[in-house]
């Protein structure tokens, strides 16, 4: 019996997350290796920061992709749900910034 392949959205999400993690890992690895050979180099720390940033932004991109896909499929209910989750993530960032650095 052949197993039915995953729908298009699932496959796009899989690719986004797979290649996104790979890209972020390469950036971080390049930064770490560069930093090991040339301590104190600005380029190394910028690469590392960029890599960490890509990791953090990746789930937000995933939400954006889902919202767009549901919108294209005229599935407005789930497009709305994905948008709400994305909005909560954005609010969390704004609130976090406003509050300032945590104690300790």
């Amino acid at each position: 019996m052949t197993i039915r392949p995953a729908p298009k959205l699932e496959r796009s999400l899989a690719s986004l997350l797979h290649y996104g993690t790979l890209f972020a890992s390469l950036l971080m690895a390049a930064g770490v290796v560069l930093g090991a050979f040339t301590p104190g180099a600005g380029a190394a720390s910028r690469l590392v920061t960029l890599g960490v940033g890509v990791v953090i932004v990746l789930p937000a991109c995933r939400l954006l992709l889902m919202a767009a896909a549901y919108l294209a499929a005229r599935d407005y209910r789930f497009a709305g749900i994905a948008a709400v989750v994305l909005a909560i993530v954005v609010v969390s960032c704004v609130v976090g910034l406003r509050l300032g650095v945590a104690a300790g």
Binding site: A6, T21, G53, V55, P59, V84, S92, V101
Partner: protein, 276 residues
């Protein structure tokens, strides 16, 4: 950051994540104590670094589950309303909650994980009647049984109760820098009644977005030390891949006992720190 520290971080994260991956657990539960107790890093710094590795591991392992149609994407995004609201509350609270309370909460979660590991997880009984009105349309689904390739259908029940439990999971995740899998399991098993393979895949898929809500805030405030977070994330991703491979070949029973012992030991250490 000195070079040897970077490699130490890589090595520690790899070890923690391999350990976690062997039993299908997230690594945050081990990484935070390793950084905090082992390397004497500030607890907030350890939580920030751990959150980044939690996202990286969730994203890195998502693809096979998605391609195998084990992840219920619709259910995941709906439940993420609960987890991200919880994470938002965590971001609001992290500066207010005393560090001592964080240690105590961490101890509690570790003991809960140990208990959960001892109590065998059984496949939840499938709900008798498809509760069509209870779940929004398009959430019931099916997944291929890996042994036979046959389609197994399942229905989703009691979504509101699931959402409430997910809120707590998101809150704890943001406060402690962990994936909170231990709190998602009861939500998935007793409220939503999902098949275990589906709930593992779906919960793993949600962890990334949950941790993103809090990690974004900490990152923008400059509270995530990237020279620590990067090697920890790299080591974790490599370790989770290695751990998943070992999982298939090790007798699981002996591993459980070993794990429970480690969890209780580390929990005791965290408790002592909290009471200090």
């Amino acid at each position: 950051m000195e070079t040897w520290t970077t490699f130490l971080l890589l090595f520690i994260a790899f070890g923690c994540s391999t350990l976690g991956g062997m039993l299908g657990m997230a690594s945050g539960l081990f990484i935070v104590p390793a950084l905090n107790l082992g390397l004497h890093m500030n607890l907030h710094e350890a939580i920030g670094a751990s959150l980044v590795s939690v996202i990286a591991c969730s994203c890195a392992s998502a693809a096979p589950y998605l391609r195998g149609r084990l992840t219920n994407v619709r259910l995941a995004v709906l439940l993420e309303i609960g987890t991200t609201l919880g994470a938002l509350s965590g971001v609001l609270l992290i500066g207010v909650v005393p560090v001592r309370a964080l240690y105590l909460l961490f101890t509690l979660i570790m003991l809960l994980s140990a208990w959960q590991m001892l109590a065998r997880r059984t496949e939840p009984a499938a709900p008798a009647m498809p509760a069509g009105a209870a779940a929004p349309a398009g959430m019931h689904a099916s997944y291929p049984d890996p042994a036979t390739g046959r389609e197994l259908r399942y229905v989703v029940t009691r979504v509101p109760a699931g959402l409430a439990l997910m809120y707590v999971a998101g809150l704890v995740s943001a406060l402690l820098g962990i994936g909170s899998g231990v709190l998602k399991v009861p939500a998935m098993d007793s409220a939503l009644r999902l098949p275990i393979r589906v709930s593992t895949a779906t919960s793993n898929f949600m962890i990334g977005v949950t941790a993103c809500a809090s990690a974004c805030a900490y990152f923008l405030r400059g509270e995530i030390v990237t020279t620590v977070a990067a090697p920890v994330a790299l080591g974790s991703v490599a370790g989770s891949i290695a751990g998943a491979h070992i999982l298939m070949r090790t007798p699981v029973r002996r591993l459980r006992v070993f794990f429970v012992a480690i969890l209780v030991l580390v929990a005791a250490q965290m408790l002592l720190h909290g009471l200090d």
